[in-house]
Symmetry: C2
């Protein structure tokens, strides 16, 4: 597991820093979509981040994809730091493989989407195919431990797909799988993943609201763990056992039923034991020549659900509020009139060249419309170039989250951000 973590480079994931709003092909809309009831879907649709194709199925528009890519990169950094190796498994899954673990039959697993006239299912998770791949490469204790992860689209037949992007029928997931020799080795890795997940939720801005929660293991065993985030939109409930350590018990397992808080599950980690390795024949020979089944774990985070949760918990009656690390842009620059355009063009150019990600509202629109759009889109820092800027050179800088307003020169602003 000793990939030189921490030392890393940018492999040409070159992203356009900045963008003029007049060029963005999406627009905000004043009215809530008539077919949505959830706050996250209403705000994200009105602001032009997502487009609904059908219930539980949403396309990502330019602003939405930028948020998802930032979440993806935060997760990738934390996964690489664990020494996990990135892969990409397929959607198409064969009946033959999944019958071996007794997870093909619709009576056993009721979330499968399957292809008409074919024995092909669409992967709703990937324990089976990765265990089958591991079997080709694992023989002895020297081939273990290892872990691998992917960002991959999952498909699940959900009857109650009405929570916007919190519960999708098609959704992007990071799934990590670990393969260890002993229970002790597994437990150690499991705890490292717990810490990585805490880092991910802290960095995406929901750390303070998120609890490490003991839950039932479902079909996999006695217990598993979830990360649950406080929100009235949640379909789960937790009983908080330690506020300081952010620990809780899933409502389904709690003995006390009063004081349960509504939450949404933003991550889960499962000890799989030898459930899949035994069914699919993934064994290794240990130091003593004994044949043993590999001990596995699986660890998931839904990226769309995480974006939806952030929209849900921070959004207010004016719109979205993005935490710094996942915001589509860092600065929303507004030029208020034809007269301020030259100054604003220059500010846009200088900020962009300093590496600051700017969405520049250069449109020929009323100031009130620009202010409303900025609140709706929810970029952390709003910078207004008004008449005052022409006179004194001072820009009005407003925090979307706190509402706090300051006046800064362009130079001071660049120094603060670059």
């Amino acid at each position: 597991m000793s990939i030189l973590s921490g030392i890393s480079i940018c492999v040409a994931f070159l992203y356009n820093v900045s963008m003029k709003q007049s060029q963005l092909f999406t627009k905000t809309r004043r009215e809530a979509p008539t077919d949505e009831v959830s706050k996250n879907a209403i705000l994200l649709t009105r602001a032009g981040f997502i487009h609904k194709e059908m219930a539980g199925v949403y396309s990502l528009l330019p602003l939405g994809l930028r948020v998802i890519k930032k979440i993806e990169n935060i997760i990738r950094e934390e996964m690489n730091a664990l020494g996990a190796q990135e892969i990409e498994l397929t959607t198409f899954q064969s009946k033959e493989l999944w019958e071996k673990t007794n997870r093909w039959d619709d009576k056993v697993v009721d979330v499968w989407y399957k292809i008409r006239d074919d024995d092909i299912g669409l992967g709703f998770t990937h324990e089976e195919p990765l265990t089958a791949i591991a079997k080709e490469y694992v023989q002895s204790y020297r081939d273990l431990p290892f872990s691998a992860y992917q960002f991959q689209t999952k498909f699940r037949r959900e009857l109650r797909a009405k929570s916007g992007i919190l519960r999708g029928r098609e959704f992007l997931m990071k799934d990590l799988y670990s393969f260890c020799r002993t229970q002790e080795e597994h437990d150690k890795f499991y705890n490292k993943v717990k810490t990585a997940y805490q880092n991910i939720f802290a960095r995406t801005g929901i750390g303070e609201l998120t609890y490490f929660t003991e839950a039932s293991g479902g079909s996999f065993g006695k217990t598993s763990h979830e990360f649950q985030t406080l929100t009235e939109a949640g379909e789960d409930a937790i009983y908080i056992t330690d506020e300081g350590r952010k620990e809780a018990i899933n409502g389904e397992m709690a003995e006390k039923k009063d004081g349960l808080k509504k939450t949404v599950e933003v991550g889960n980690i499962f000890p799989l034991g030898t459930r899949f390795s035994e069914a699919l024949g993934l064994y290794f020979t240990d130091e003593n020549g004994d044949k043993k089944p590999v001990i596995m774990g699986s660890y998931g985070i839904g990226l769309g659900r995480l974006m939806g949760t952030i929209a849900e918990v921070f959004g207010d009656d004016k719109g979205l509020i993005w935490p710094e690390e996942v915001a589509p842009f860092k600065v929303h620059l507004l030029s208020l009139s034809e007269g301020t355009k030259k100054f604003a063009d220059e500010a846009y150019d200088k900020l962009t060249r300093a590496g600051v990600e700017v969405l520049y509202d250069d449109r020929d629109a009323r100031a009130g419309e620009k202010f409303a759009d900025a609140d709706l889109i929810g970029i952390p820092m709003r910078v207004v170039v008004g008449e005052k800027a022409l006179a004194s050179g001072m820009l009005e800088v407003k925090s979307r989250a706190s509402g706090e307003t300051r006046e800064l020169s362009l130079k001071e602003l660049i120094n603060e951000l670059a």
Copy 2:
């Protein structure tokens, strides 16, 4: 279209620079898989880049994903330079939408995969959903032109899925769509895409072998254009009309049938005219107040097919040969014995800290096995730490492509690469 192209930053796509081969969970294999006939699938499987799930469906293992991500980033840079906006549409597609363009019926489109007991199809292309999205945002001439692209997995029912990753039933595609006001505006953008594609094929190493080819427009119109790469493994054929300008005519359209060369199609660009905008009602009001249909184009590159083509055209009897910009690592560092390990560890550490991507063969294995693996995996530069390095400090540096061998000190090597 004036996103500040050229100015871009790395948005935390932090990739592990380097890796020890002892940690890589895949291994090479000596024997060709019994169920493959194509060179690309045989080499990529033996070297541990891909895993076959079923005919035409391949998972990407760590080395394979690194190549795909490098191809993806080259394409992303060229798309962003065009001013195209990145999005991500969904796999699930509704019957209702596709019936409007008469592309739902299996008798009209025979490549659909459809979900059992549901009116859901798996997208094999995305003209329909993006046109429907554009309709929500386009009213007047001021909302045009724009273009949007995605990296998205497509599903196509292919009967002859026997060319390895050249022809998949599930495959990753970059698809770009353009929306213009006039034929002249469309033609101008179409030509810019042609240049972007030439850049992409040049950067991925197949520029000299790739021809801009006039082809039939299929169901979309009179003509389209393809990018065809010379290879005996190809299922297409072209007649070269201008060797210097790398221009050709698709064999199906050529009048002369002798002198046709076998090729694989690595990209295609289609003028769509108003085929989709009229069917789906995507109109705009021009400067004179007249209502007109939007003029569209679509432009595809299959990323797996491009990786397979590179494997096919450059691979030799010893294994893969990756061009510099798409190689999974830049250097394959080999330590030949227990005695050279300390020197090699230090070289690995220094190269990695200098930002060079190194795969370090630190395994306890015979020198012959390490040489064979290096040839099979095909990293551009092989650096051997043998007994000579201990005595003189000189490393043996060999080019995988040319076979040329040089001796360099570690310092000279770092200066050359960093």
